[in-house]
């Protein structure tokens, strides 16, 4: 390898990193728009236009950015940046539609789980550093909630990895997201195991609103009780960064669910169908069109998961008290997750 080819590969990676970050932010804001529109329609309102989140972010970036006098300035300004970077990095490790992850081989599911925890920590740290009592209460709630949903999240990840270890054998890394997404788990588990995986999917869907601080688990930024909680002192650019970070986190979580449980591609099926039609249809080279079909299918899956995991739940349920929310994750959801693990293990031995 000479210097030029190394430099070329390096440059290409930098270009891809910017491209994926840009796509992540764009998709995040777009799906936030869908989420707001859909939940407005469910409440029989007209709702904002789809591009409303872009307008909100643009407005926030032009507003004055205030740092409170008693705040610790570098933590206060640094927290939103870290909260945005962590989900963007997580996006580099996740397969997006038909494309394999950019940083394939450098990290796996466990790293993604750690990266998912960082925005919550950044929110809590930012809240504590802002010196407002409301923000302190919100940050405490955020930390309590994070400690509650980490266990069910870990259970779901471990169940999938354990089963994957059985499927691919000991030579391959069962935590690798590329391995998980190329071996759809449903075909290998049987009936009892399938029930277990369904319970695990439910667990992960229950973690989704908590991870995003969306409505039944929005205690950390409860508007009506603690004045937007951790974000109470955030203005302008910093608030805009948190806003974007939350939407990117939504894309990362939905992509993670797709990777773990629904990694199917439409183009394979379509190709097989065209071949089955035989003489009626001319056999065409799918090529670029296959990629396009898969990307559209991936966007559709994202929409479905965000609809069922975020919008529907957000409209249907009111906010829990923080102790009830913590109990909800520690007891019922953890038990459901462990039952799912048990079923998968039993299904494998029977």
């Amino acid at each position: 390898m000479n210097i030029e080819s190394i430099l070329e590969g390096w440059l290409l990676n930098v270009v891809f990193i910017f491209l994926i970050s840009f796509i992540g932010i764009f998709l995040g804001l777009l799906y936030k728009g869908f989420d707001r529109k859909i939940s407005a329609m469910m409440q029989s309102r007209i709702g904002p236009p789809i591009i409303q989140p872009f307008r909100d972010v643009r407005k926030l970036l032009t507003k004055e950015t205030i740092v409170p006098e008693n705040a610790i300035e570098w933590i206060f300004n640094g927290a939103p940046i870290i909260a945005l970077i962590a989900p963007l990095v997580a996006l580099m490790y996740l397969p997006i539609g038909p494309f394999s992850p950019l940083l394939e081989g450098y990290g796996d599911l466990i790293l993604v789980l750690y990266l998912l925890a960082i925005p919550a920590i950044a929110m809590a740290v930012g809240g504590f550093s802002s010196s407002s009592p409301y923000a302190t209460v919100g940050a405490q709630r955020e930390v309590v909630l994070m400690m509650s949903y980490e266990l069910p999240l870990a259970i779901s990840a471990i169940t999938v990895a354990w089963k994957m270890n059985e499927i691919v054998g000991p030579e391959t890394n069962p935590f690798s997201l590329q391995v998980i997404s190329s071996n759809p788990i449903w075909g290998h588990v049987g009936l009892i195991g399938g029930l277990g995986i369904a319970l695990i999917v439910f667990t992960l869907f229950a973690v989704l609103p908590g991870e995003l601080s969306k409505e039944p688990f929005g205690q950390a930024k409860a508007k009506t009780e603690i004045a937007d909680g951790v974000f109470v002192e955030y203005t302008g650019r910093n608030l805009g960064l948190f806003y974007i970070a939350n939407t990117v986190q939504m894309i990362v979580l939905a992509s993670l669910i797709i990777t773990l449980f629904f990694p199917y591609q439409l183009s394979n099926l379509l190709e097989r169908w065209i071949i089955l039609q035989g003489p009626i249809l001319p056999i065409v080279e799918m090529g670029v069109w296959a990629l396009l079909v898969d990307v559209v299918f991936y966007l559709f899956k994202l929409l479905l998961i965000i609809y069922f995991g975020v919008s529907l739940v957000r409209v249907a349920f009111a906010r829990f008290q923080i102790d009830k929310a913590s109990y909800f994750y520690w007891v019922p959801i953890s038990i459901i997750g462990l039952l799912g693990l048990l079923f998968v293990v039993v299904g494998a031995t029977v």
Partner: protein, 147 residues
């Protein structure tokens, strides 16, 4: 700092009760209900003045709330618009000459504050939305100017 063209399409509103009888507050809440749904214009009620672009003051400023009103005004980041909701907030209305009152809001806020008056006792939701339209006209004037 120049305002973007879409700035006025995403106004976040913070609602302050500076001493009203609650009637105007209820009318404000009714503008976010499905019947009027101001979210279709990008308007959102927020929980803290730090996030707000528009401050809604209801009621005359009484002695207990004067400090808070001024502090909330200062806490709001620029550029900002103040909407004075109801006859009491604009003129002290039926509380005229009361011993408990510091005066209408426009006598207390700094001179450079931009006020939009929405009249009525209580105000009608349609009139509040009309006030938002006037806020848009004001913000359109700010486009291209230094704020």
């Amino acid at each position: 700092m120049k305002l973007s063209k879409t700035f006025d399409k995403s106004l976040w509103v913070f609602h302050v009760n500076s001493g009203s009888c609650n009637a105007c507050d209820i009318e404000i809440v009714s503008t976010v209900t499905p019947r009027y749904d101001v979210e279709r214009f990008g308007i959102e009620l927020v929980g803290t003045p730090r996030h707000a672009d528009v401050l809604l003051f209801t009621g005359p400023v009484i002695k207990k709330t004067k400090e808070r009103v001024l502090r909330i005004y200062e806490q709001t980041p620029d550029p900002k618009v103040v909407m004075v909701i109801g006859n009491c907030a604009g003129t002290t209305g039926v509380y005229y000459d009361s011993y408990a009152i510091e005066g209408p809001i426009d006598t207390l806020l700094p001179d450079d504050a931009h006020l939009i008056y929405v009249t009525g006792c209580p105000v009608r939701p349609e009139n509040i939305i009309n006030g938002v339209k006037e806020a848009w006209l004001y913000l359109e004037k700010l486009r291209g100017d230094q704020v």
